[in-house]
Every structure is written in structure tokens, then in C-alpha cells.
């Protein structure tokens, strides 16, 4: 018997200037993983926010257990059995895991907060679904994958039957994705239903029971995973044929650009984050740094570009010493850095796009002459880049915060790629981007390589590493566990290395 637990009918949601959802309908059955597939900006998140009570729909109706309802707010949604794991985790960083889970559904003991009995209940959930987590850890100290688990437990603790996972794999390593899928399976096995929002085709085929594809706010098709293939889904999702594979020439490594010897980096508390790491990158090759999030890659990048100090070891760029060089020095040595957190690190949101385009070259001619900024030059430069890199904005004088989605990434790429560089350090260059944008960025990275640039790509997306890299360095626990040529190793082998398993 098919039991529909959630149905949305003709949901329409308009924002000034855009129709985010245009008469969307779909059904979620009990015990089903229903994938909502669509590019960024297709309207998936808006739809989920409507279901979750964060937005009011302009038209349409939601049915829960075949009963028409109006979800007032998230609290109401939870009460009706809908839980949501947001793409940006809704966790209080300084709280313990336990505190984060009980927040909003606290039990009390007289006036006091009672954490004892929830602890037992939560432990039960943890055991039941094999979630393995320490409830007393401070949340911000946890790796992303585990934080996501906290979100799932949060929902389960509220006894939801329907779980909405918004791009849950975007930030996960392959192993973590596997773990997540296991958890999802065990959830549906025990009677929960899941809405799985993603733009990753492969995952959809792997895990979903039913697929609904959304494009520009409309449902453009649906499929069963066993009837669909990646290519057809991609075409449906993007609205045109997509080249799924990168075509790149074989690398022709030339002179040495980056040399790292015995590098050690410690964090503020003295914990070793990067442990005796040595490697080199030559002009004309792409080296991928693979590894599960939190194994020292972030610190490695930050140390290389001068954002954090190194403990010991040496770094050379173009044969010149660059150990503990300032970010500016590193930039001036001809390197570009695409930071991991694009919203926070690489840009100043209240500034204009033009100012962001010169964020690390503002002091150089022609943007400044003897300490005085040359507004005209900056504007000209920015307008040019906006056009060249297809940054979607009415004007380069608009603030960076007005940009949407992938345009943030394009803005940074435009700035970093526009300089003459011979070293490109890209951290998670495509995180959270849609297929079209990923395709675009990958091509640009390869283009840079072919121009003779040494490229270091740090990614937790194994596919990305496999596709882009000429050589792959796998980090585990702050150490380089192995360095391999990309065409001599399978994805599965890299995955094992990332888990710390050496052959």
C-alpha cells in the first residue's frame, strides 16, 4: 500500500522580480527517499522553506498525511512531523552537541533545565541509527560531517517522520557520503521518509527512490532511478546538453614552482594540524589535495598563503623563500588563492564589486598612485572583468552582497585569474556550485594549467580531485599519507587512503 505522507500541490512563491516556485507539485510516500534535483537557484530551497513554514506560499496547498495544512512556522512544521537539515547548519557553534539537540524542545526539572533524561533518549536514537557521536563536544570543534549528524539527530529527537535534507552531501567526503547514505537507508527502513535535495546526479541515482527535477521554479520531469541515467537527468536539470567529462591534455610539468619541506602547522591551542608535510608542484600540472575535511588541508592552504603562521619547515615559491610570508608577499610572488569560505574570506560584502575586484591589488598601479586610489581605473578594470567572467550584476558599482549564488565564485575567480600568476591555490573551488558553474570553473583551472601555471586544488569532492588532478596527494591526520598519479589509481583506492588505509 502506498501511503502519501506529504503532498504539495501547485505551490507558487514569488519574490520581487522573480517567481521562485511556479506551481510545483510532488508527492512523498512513506518510507521513500524522494530526490528533488535541480541546479542552484532552481527553487528547491524556496520550496523547502515553504514546506518548513519559513515562507508563506502565494498559491497552492500542502497536505500532510492527506490532510490540508498550513504550516505557520518551523515550530509548527516540527510539530507536524517535518524536520529539516539546512545546507548551512543551524547549530550554535559554542553549544555542546547535547545543548544543540535539545534547544527548542527542552525538558525541565522544576525551573532547571533537564539534560539528563534527554541525554538518555538521544543516546537511544544514536544507538538505534548507529550515529556515533559524543554529546559533550563543543559543536564548532566537530568536523562538518559530524555536525550534520547533529542536525539529523536534532530532527529525530523531535520525532519527525519526514526529514528534509538540503544539499546534505555538498560538504561531505566520499566516506561521509557513504555514511550518510547508510543512515538515510536505516531511517527509511524504520519508517521515516526523506526529501533529499541535491544537484548531484550520481547520488540521486544511487540513493533515491523517486526523482523530481526542478528547473527555474518549475517541475520539468520526474523519474525512477533505475530508469534514468546521469546524462538524461543532467539535460533535464540544466535544460541543455551537458558535457559530463573534462577533456584535458596530458600534463607537461615544467619548472618547479612550489616546494614545501617538512612543514608543520599548529593551531592556536598548540595542536598539530599539519604534520611534517613535504611536496612540490611544477608549472603546468594540477596537484589535487584529497582528504576528509579536517585533516589539515585547510591549515596547509592557510599556512601557504600566509594567513596563519607555520611552526617549522620551509616553503619556496619560484625558488624563493616564502616561509611565513605575508599574504601580500605570497600574492606578489605570483600566486592566486581562491579561499575556502568565499563569503567570509575573500570578499567584503558591503563593498562594491569593483572594490572587491581589486581587494588584494588595490595598492598597485594603476589602481592607486602614491597612496591615492584611482577610482576610474578600478571601475574600468571591474567592468571589464564583470563582462569577461560573466558575473551577473547590473553594475560593477553594486555591492558584492547583492550577488547571488555562483556569482560570488565568479567574482573571486575573475579577480584571481586576471593577474599574471604562476601558482594557483584553490580551496574547494566548486563547493556548493551547480553543474554549469562547476563545468565552467574546471575549464578555467585547466586553462590556467595549460598556460603554464602550477595548480594546487584542495577538495573534499573526490570526483573533482579525480577529474582535475594530474597528481593526487592524500592527507590524513595532518600527514601526507600518499602521493599518486591520477591515472594510476582508482577512485576507490583514493577513498581508502582518505580514510587512512594504506595498501
Amino acid at each position: 500500500m502506498v501511503n502519501t505522507v506529504l503532498e504539495v500541490q501547485n505551490i507558487t512563491k514569488r519574490f520581487p522580480g522573480v517567481i521562485a516556485n511556479d506551481s510545483i507539485s510532488f508527492k512523498l510516500n512513506k518510507g521513500e527517499i524522494h530526490a528533488l534535483l535541480g541546479e542552484n537557484g532552481a527553487g528547491k530551497s524556496t520550496l523547502m522553506n515553504v514546506i518548513y513554514g519559513l515562507y508563506k506560499p502565494d498559491e497552492g496547498q500542502i497536505f500532510i498525511n492527506e490532510e490540508a495544512v498550513e504550516v505557520q512556522n518551523p515550530h509548527d512544521a516540527i510539530a507536524r512531523g517535518i524536520g529539516m537539515v539546512h545546507q548551512h547548519f543551524m547549530l550554535v557553534p559554542v553549544f555542546t552537541v547535547l545543548e544543540n539537540i535539545v534547544l527548542g524542545s527542552e525538558t525541565t526539572n522544576g525551573p532547571s533545565l533537564n539534560l539528563r533524561s534527554p541525554r538518555k533518549d538521544i543516546q537511544k536514537i544514536i544507538d538505534q541509527f548507529n550515529l556515533d557521536i559524543d554529546l559533550d563536544t563543543i559543536t564548532e570543534d566537530l568536523p562538518v560531517g559530524i555536525q550534520q549528524r547533529v542536525e539529523i539527530i536534532k530532527a529525530l529527537y523531535r520525532q519527525v517522520d519526514i526529514l528534509v535534507l538540503d544539499e546534505p552531501t555538498a560538504v561531505l567526503t566520499p566516506q561521509e557520503v557513504d555514511d550518510l547514505f547508510k543512515i538515510m537507508r536505516s531511517l527509511v527502513d524504520q519508517g521515516k521518509s526523506i526529501i533529499f535535495i541535491t544537484h548531484k546526479l550520481k547520488e540521486v541515482i544511487e540513493i533515491a527512490d523517486q526523482i523530481t527535477v526542478i528547473r527555474r521554479g518549475k517541475v520539468v520531469g520526474s523519474a525512477k532511478p533505475d530508469e534514468a541515467d546521469q546524462q538524461s537527468l543532467a539535460t533535464m536539470m540544466v535544460g541543455r546538453d551537458v558535457d559530463m567529462h573534462l577533456h584535458k591534455k596530458k600534463a607537461e610539468p615544467k619548472e618547479m614552482i612550489l616546494e614545501v619541506n617538512n612543514l608543520v602547522v599548529k593551531d592556536a591551542n598548540g595542536n598539530v594540524e599539519v604534520d611534517d608535510v613535504s611536496f612540490e608542484i611544477k608549472a603546468g600540472e594540477i596537484v589535487g589535495i584529497a582528504g576528509v575535511q579536517g585533516n589539515g588541508q585547510t591549515e596547509l592552504v592557510n599556512a601557504l598563503v600566509g594567513m596563519i603562521p607555520t611552526e617549522s619547515g620551509t616553503v619556496k615559491i619560484n625558488g624563493l623563500p616564502a616561509t611565513n610570508a605575508s599574504p601580500r608577499k605570497v600574492t606578489e610572488m605570483g600566486s592566486a588563492h581562491i579561499p575556502e569560505d568565499r563569503l567570509k574570506d575573500g570578499r567584503v560584502l558591503p563593498f562594491t564589486i569593483a572594490d572587491n575586484m581589486v581587494l588584494n591589488t588595490y595598492y598597485l598601479e594603476p589602481f592607486a598612485k602614491s597612496g591615492i586610489r584611482q577610482q576610474e581605473e578600478i571601475k574600468e578594470f571591474a567592468v571589464d572583468l564583470v563582462e569577461k567572467f560573466d558575473v551577473r550584476t547590473p553594475s560593477a558599482e553594486n555591492t558584492a552582497s547583492s550577488l547571488s549564488g555562483g556569482n560570488h565564485q565568479k567574482e573571486i575567480d575573475a579577480r584571481e585569474f586576471s593577474r599574471p600568476i604562476n601558482l594557483l591555490i584553490a580551496a574547494q573551488p566548486t563547493r556548493g556550485l551547480d553543474v554549469g558553474s562547476i563545468e565552467y570553473i574546471h575549464h578555467r583551472i585547466i586553462e590556467k594549467r595549460d598556460e603554464g601555471c602550477a595548480v594546487m586544488v584542495v577538495s573534499t569532492e573526490l570526483d573533482e580531485i579525480m577529474e582535475l588532478s594530474d597528481r593526487i596527494i592524500v592527507m590524513f591526520n595532518g600527514k601526507i599519507i600518499d602521493t599518486v598519479n591520477a591515472d594510476e589509481i582508482t577512485k576507490e583506492q583514493v577513498g581508502l587512503l582518505m580514510a587512512g588505509v594504506t595498501a
Partner: protein, 341 residues
Amino acid sequence: MTDKNNNQDNKFLKHLKKNWAKYTVGILLIVAILYNYDRDPKVTQAVLASMVRHSTPLVLGALCGLIGERSGIINIGIEGQMLISAFAAFMTTAYTGNIIFGVVLGILTGMFMGYLLAIMSIALKLDQIIGGTVLNILALGITSYFYQVGLSMGQKILPIPLGKLADLPLVGRVLFNNPPITYTTFILVFVVHYILFHTKWGLRTRAVGEHPRAADTVGVDVFKIRYVNLIIAGGVAGLAGSFLSLEAVGSFERAMTNGRGFVALAVMIFGRWTPFGAWGAALLFGFASAMQTQINFSGALDIPYQFISMLPYLLTIVVLAGFVGRSRAPAASGVPYEKEG
């Protein structure tokens, strides 16, 4: 089992390692106090009792500030809240002759000021520094404009010795022979700590101050938490005002807060946004103030008195720079919350 024990040992060691400076200073202080008490009980008592008196309005002001900031609203209007409450408390007492009415009205006035700040920073989304500044200037203007000459409230609030406790050596005079608002302050430190860290309301408050969106998504009413907390915090500032006019002085004078609201702000940050931290910081400042007076009393230091006068301020800076260092404010404080959609 042993593993767990080990773990706990480790935690303890880690804690010690991290806080050794605090503990060392604390132990040294206690030793020094006891030594002095042995040598000159009267002066030691006098200094410590004065320390408590100096610290009371600062603790209350800091509590007001931190309740607000813990829920995400910066409050630099403590000075104004205190001043206008002191005024209201005094006027009420002068007209009704009833000190309890005065205290109640002082608190209510503080709450109203808190409500004003809440409207400005939550509903109107004014910059919170502006909201606080508005309160400060407004309070100064209103109290001076409506100040009346010749009013008298009779006797100010008297100390209530707590039975036998008050006869204890040293602590008796310092802790257990105080007027009621001072006792209330002691209790409030514990109460605010308890509420912040051991109740549902406190958990939600801290969540709202750190990550309001997260709190919102689990059904916590961000605005309600902020409103209520700011009003309660205003009440605490109101109590501080009542303390100033009814308990400490027994009269109202224009601008009688004399910057205490700002020092309270410093005390709050110094105390890392925790009630006990604020208490400690206020006591430190109070101790330095009392020492400054005592040095002048003793006439022992023959240097221009302005240098002695700098003592509390310099000591605060030195301790802050030398021992406390960086502190982390609640992440969302100062940022107006916008609901989605």
C-alpha cells in the same frame, strides 16, 4: 570505567593548565587578605567592605549589559537607564515616603528604558550603539529638566545585619552587614548565572545571542527572547539606579551616575559576559578604588594624589592586558535579526 576516570583527570589537568594564572592570583589574594587581616583587622575590613560597596552598581550595570548581549543586543545605554531609574526611584520615595514604592518604580522605569531599547534595536532595527546613546542623552536631559529642588526622601535604606553571620570575623562586616539591594546583587549574580546556564530560558537566550537563525528554526521566538531579556535587564539597571539614589546616597543629583554605566560596560567585557566574571571584575575595580582611598587615608604614599587616583584605572588595564586578554563576545550581538521571508 578507568578510561572515564582518566578522562576526567585529564579534563581537570587541562582546566588547571588553562586557568593556573587565575587560581594563583586568587590564592595569593586570599593569603594576602588573611595576612593583612591578622595585622590590621579594622583596615582590612574597611577596605573589603568598601570594595563591595564600590562594586555593587557596577555588578548590576554589568548584569544588565550581559543579559542583553547574551541575547544579542549591545547595550551602551546602561548609564542612562541607571540615571533615570535613580531619578524615578528618588522622586517616588520623596513623594510617597515609601522606599519600597521607590525601588519598585526605579525598577519599572529601568524596564521601560529596556523596552525602549528593545523597540529601537529589534523592531526599528536601529544601530544598537545609537539606541544606547539615545537612552543616555535622553536620561540626562529628562532628569536634569525635571529635577526639583528641595525634595527629600528622609533616611536612606539601612544595612540589615544578618544575625550571627554578621558577627563573623572579616566576612561578617564585609558580606553580611549590607543593605538589601546589595544582598539582592549578590543573589542576582547567582540567579543570572543559574538562569543563563541552567534553565531553558537561558539556553534559548544564549542560542539567540550566538545564532538567532538556528534558534528560530527550532521554534524559539527570537524577538520575544530579546524583548523579554532587554526588559529584565532594564529592571536590573533600574535596581542599580535605585541603589544609587536610595541606598548609596539617599538623594538624587543630576548626572549622579558619573560614568558608572560605562565602567559597568567595561566590567561586563572584562568579565567575559559571565555573571561571575563580571562580579570578579567589579570587585577588582572596587578593590582598587577602596585601596586608592585607603592609601590617601593612611597618607603613606607621598606622591601627588592624582597618581593615587589613577590606581583603579591603571590596575584594570594592567590586569586586563596582562592576565585576561582577548575575550569573545556573543556572536550575534549588535546584529539586528531579520526573519526570512
